[in-house]
Symmetry: C2
Subunit: 166 residues, 2 copies
């Protein structure tokens, strides 16, 4: 057993890596801001921090709630404007997970992937299959289309929700 204040070297590596990545992302955002003549504000810093800290697929409203917990005064419009900025800076990708809401996931350091979404708990994980990708290309070609992109969402029950079903 490892005591509270000790960490395995593996844990330390992961922390270091995460901190490094977050630093890079912040760099990218500040570069984007600067190169467009925009400005870094308290609100933008806060929203960026909170978005980067939270993995997963946040809706604007969920992000708004998280931000409001830290600063009551931030408005919804600022959240939406910030989401657009993060998208333009290639830090965020807007996705549709079939629940009618727009959702945003981290883009930096995440290669193309599709989603496997649990209908029980709503959790979505990233998946990828090169064979499927190749077949999609082939399928489009068969119909004379030039493929430029796709969206694939798989719906099912995750292991823990499958247990509960019984």
């Amino acid at each position: 057993m490892i005591s509270k204040n000790e960490k395995s070297s593996k844990e330390k590596d992961m922390e270091t890596e995460a901190a490094l990545k977050k630093h890079e992302e912040r760099q990218i955002f500040e570069n984007h801001i600067a190169s467009h003549g925009f400005r870094m504000t308290r609100q933008r810093g806060l929203i960026l921090d909170i978005f980067l800290k939270k993995e997963g697929h946040l809706s604007p409203e969920e992000l708004y709630d998280l931000v409001k917990a830290k600063d009551q005064t931030v408005g919804r419009a600022t959240i939406y404007r910030m989401l657009r900025l993060m998208k333009e800076a290639d830090l965020a990708r807007q996705v549709n997970l079939g629940d009618g809401l727009s959702r945003y996931e981290h883009k930096y350091g995440h290669a193309h992937h599709d989603h496997l979404i649990c209908l029980g708990c709503g959790k979505a994980i990233e998946v990828f299959d090169a064979e499927i990708e190749a077949l999609q290309e082939k399928l489009a070609k068969k119909h004379g289309y030039a493929l430029t992109g796709h969206q694939m969402d798989l719906f099912g029950l995750c292991p823990s929700c499958r247990e509960k079903e019984e």
Copy 2:
């Protein structure tokens, strides 16, 4: 060349088939209505007719426009209520083609399929690939998920839009 009033036997067959299918669909709708204690009205008949006649992927607003062209007095709410009914009767399937609108396609007689959507003209065709379906199942299983469904949209340029691009 075939004159205006003559039709090849193949054309006649297709007409007969289409008329038959439409009749079956209307039957299904009326059964659904009757078995739920609902009522058949002029508006519902009109909307059903127009929806069934129009292949493709209609948005509520597009359907509303088509209906209004035949009867100015029909309201938007009736369109929405009718779309829900047709969905419940398994005559329509609500799909998301990535343009932010809800769209409805015919369900009766259409087996499961995915969509290949042209980014030039917006046209969407139905596609299917059994190999992809099998790999999706395999991919979900690999992550411990029980697959219950999926949504796959391929985006590209259709043959005629590819020409225009040059």
